[in-house]
Amino acid sequence: MEEKYSSIITPRNKLFEVNFKEIWDYRDLLLLFVKRDIVTSYKQTILGPLWWIIQPSMTVIIYMVVFGGIAGIPTDGIPKPLFYLSGVCLWQYFSDCLNKTSNTFVTNSGIFGKVYFPRLIMPLEAVISNLVRFGIQVGLFVVVYVFYAISGTNVSPNGYLLLFPLLVMMLAGLALGFGIIISSMTTKYRDFQVLFSFIVTLWMYATPIVYPLSQVKGKVLGGIDLYSLMLLNPVTPLFETFKHGALGEGEFVGWGWLAYSFAFMVVILVFGVLIFNKVQRNFMDTV
């Protein structure tokens, strides 16, 4: 009689065999990890979660001095603190997610080496727990925003602001996709880790954070229209849409570019999950 088995462990799994049901089964673990991260991240600090507000505030002040003051880059008539803060909040979330997900295997090798659970839980946890921090920073943004609105400054939100949840989701998706690809590569060659932190820094300047996108309009770099080139950066449309929606800055980048970002996110996520799934089976031997 042929025995029935609930699972079979084989040397290799098929490329497209991603067990999403299993991840769903472990959803409680995901939530507990998120809770652990939030509860413990500022244990034994005096200011605690206040750091989440101090960090972006300091960054904004530095930008105001360096880019706004010394370099004299205009902000399209938007109050400088508000302009920089909008970009800093989004970017902080994006880069936090990237950094944390890209180190998944290396930082968790201890726990991964002792117990099995779907490895994808870890990067997912990073993206979700960073949302809390992001939420607090958005709160700061709202406070500053209301302050300017009351004092009569010209901040004109419009309907595109409703896209905000979608923008955050896309930002998270892009960070997750890129992060897990890098984490899969760093199990064997740590070079990628060094390279990647460098790339993230450069990436920030290729995103309209310290300058408005309108500044590059009409500029040509080596025969290529710099404006379109910048929009090829999949996070640029997200930043621009948010700034346009919340502050009325510049003009809407257009649905085409948003769709481009979305498609980019889907491709990078699918690719990332596949490569991650392949690496997770044997990474303990090489990490």
């Binding site: 040397p11 472990y26 507990l32 990890f33 413990t40 726990i111 060659y189």
Partner: protein
């Protein structure tokens, strides 16, 4: 009983030395032969045995090779082997931490693996929070843990500290808590690595009882790795001996332990015998401890010439001992570990070791040895075959303290005084 676990030709290849860059050429040549030329992997052909002590030319090693066995439901399997024999690799593959290089494992039921106690404990979180986290890591649902919380806390015996961060816990408490969570995991197949070594004897017993209960009353299957033969013998029904990554023996647990002990005459050092230099035997009897006692029952290592000395030896005998024709426990007192000075044996009194006892006492009313440091060797035999033999099981120091009541002492030169002090008197005519 239905089969719940089946290993089919499972092998695992590991790289030696650095994994990357240095062997990029190997990686390329592997890719070239397997993917482009579609031939067999050149490195998988290496038929190297996994032996840590010999240096080999190859960069690859079979940590496991051709492992084949089946486990039936409710069985408790002990996995025995020297360090590096492949025990942990086997458990890691079974727990899906790494995948086999070749072969398949068919599993029927949820596997709960305990390769380390308290994985994922966060030092800043309380015991209660960590129970939830650790349980979820092991694959439990939140409600499941909540339902069993009281049982887990009770089993761990950490009730008073349950709302204290675990960084304030002692390592033993962490082990207790971690094991308590895993024991309530309720998997169909429980995989336990050598994790109980940290806990005290009481807890180890509790843990083993719990595992036995799981297998006997609930029909759970247990795979258990340990170097502690007593625990293995207590808990397991069948055993697998691994040697250099291969299956060396499979069968019932007594056979497995005998096989292992006979193949590995020098056993792991034992805390009970810190001075021991060598230990061998087939394990039919195992010495547990040795104590040198004074007249009033106090443990000592230094005795005066002519003092009363009791040598107490604890042992644990197997069933084989009960049926054998002849067995004995012998103590040899030696000087410099070589020169026999005295020989004491149970065989001068009885033919067989009393297998219902766990200790034997040799009472020496007058210890008539000269001043010096002696070694005690323990030896047990069954049908004149060595069951357990421990060289230098204890040290015995003898000092001269005016035994003759003359206020004088013999010279300290061993070559002239020898090892025996005779009770004598001097008279003049």
């Amino acid at each position: 009983m239905p089969t719940v676990l089946e290993f089919n030709n499972v092998s695992k290849l590991y790289h030696l030395g650095k994994v990357n860059t240095q062997y990029f050429s190997d990686e390329f040549s592997r890719w070239w032969t397997t993917k482009v030329r579609r031939k067999e992997d050149p490195f998988l052909k290496i038929d190297e045995t996994n032996d840590c002590s010999h240096k080999s030319e190859s960069h690859y090693i079979w940590a496991l090779k051709d492992i084949n066995f089946k486990v039936e439901q409710g069985d408790v399997v002990g996995i025995i082997g020297k360090n590096g024999a492949g025990k942990s690799t086997l458990l890691k593959i079974l727990s899906k931490i790494t995948s086999p290089t070749t072969g398949t494992i068919k599993v029927n039921g949820r596997i709960g693996s305990l390769l380390e106690v308290g994985t994922g404990f966060h030092p800043d979180m309380t015991g209660r929070e960590n129970i939830f986290l650790n349980g979820a890591i092991l694959g439990m649902r939140r409600q499941e843990i909540a339902k069993k919380l009281d049982e887990i806390v009770d089993f761990s015996g950490c009730e008073r500290f349950i709302d204290t961060p675990v960084k304030r816990y002692s390592s033993g408490m962490k082990t207790r808590l971690g094991f308590a969570v895993a024991a309530h995991l309720d998997p169909e197949i429980l995989v336990v690595d050598e994790v109980l070594a940290v806990g005290d004897i009481e807890f180890r017993k509790k843990a083993i009882d719990k595992m036995r209960e799981l297998s006997q009353t609930e029909g759970r299957t247990v795979l258990f790795v340990s170097h502690n033969m007593t625990s293995i013998k207590k808990l397991c029904k069948s055993g697998i001996v691994l040697k250099n990554g291969r299956m060396d023996y499979i069968g019932n647990i007594d056979g497995a332990i005998d096989h292992y002990l006979m193949k590995n005459p020098v056993l792991e050092s034992d805390a009970a015998f810190p001075y021991a230099t060598k230990r061998r035997g087939n394990g039919a009897l195992r010495f547990q401890y040795i104590r040198l006692l004074s007249k009033n029952g106090l443990e000592r290592s230094v005795f005066e010439v002519g003092e009363e000395c009791v040598i107490e030896v604890g042992f644990e005998a197997t069933d084989a001992l009960k049926v054998c024709k002849e067995s004995r426990i012998t103590i040899s007192i030696t000087y410099s570990s070589q020169q026999a000075v005295a020989w004491l044996s149970s065989s001068l009194f009885v033919d067989r070791i009393d297998s219902n006892s766990t200790t034997i006492r040799f009472r020496i009313p007058k210890l008539m040895l000269t001043e010096g440091i002696y070694n005690v060797k323990l030896y047990a035999s069954m049908n004149s075959e060595s069951a357990d033999e421990i060289f230098d099981a204890a040290q015995l120091e003898v000092i001269y303290h005016d035994y003759l009541g003359t206020g004088k002492a013999p010279p300290k030169d061993v070559t002239s005084v020898g090892h025996t002090f005779l009770d004598y008197a001097v008279s003049w005519k």
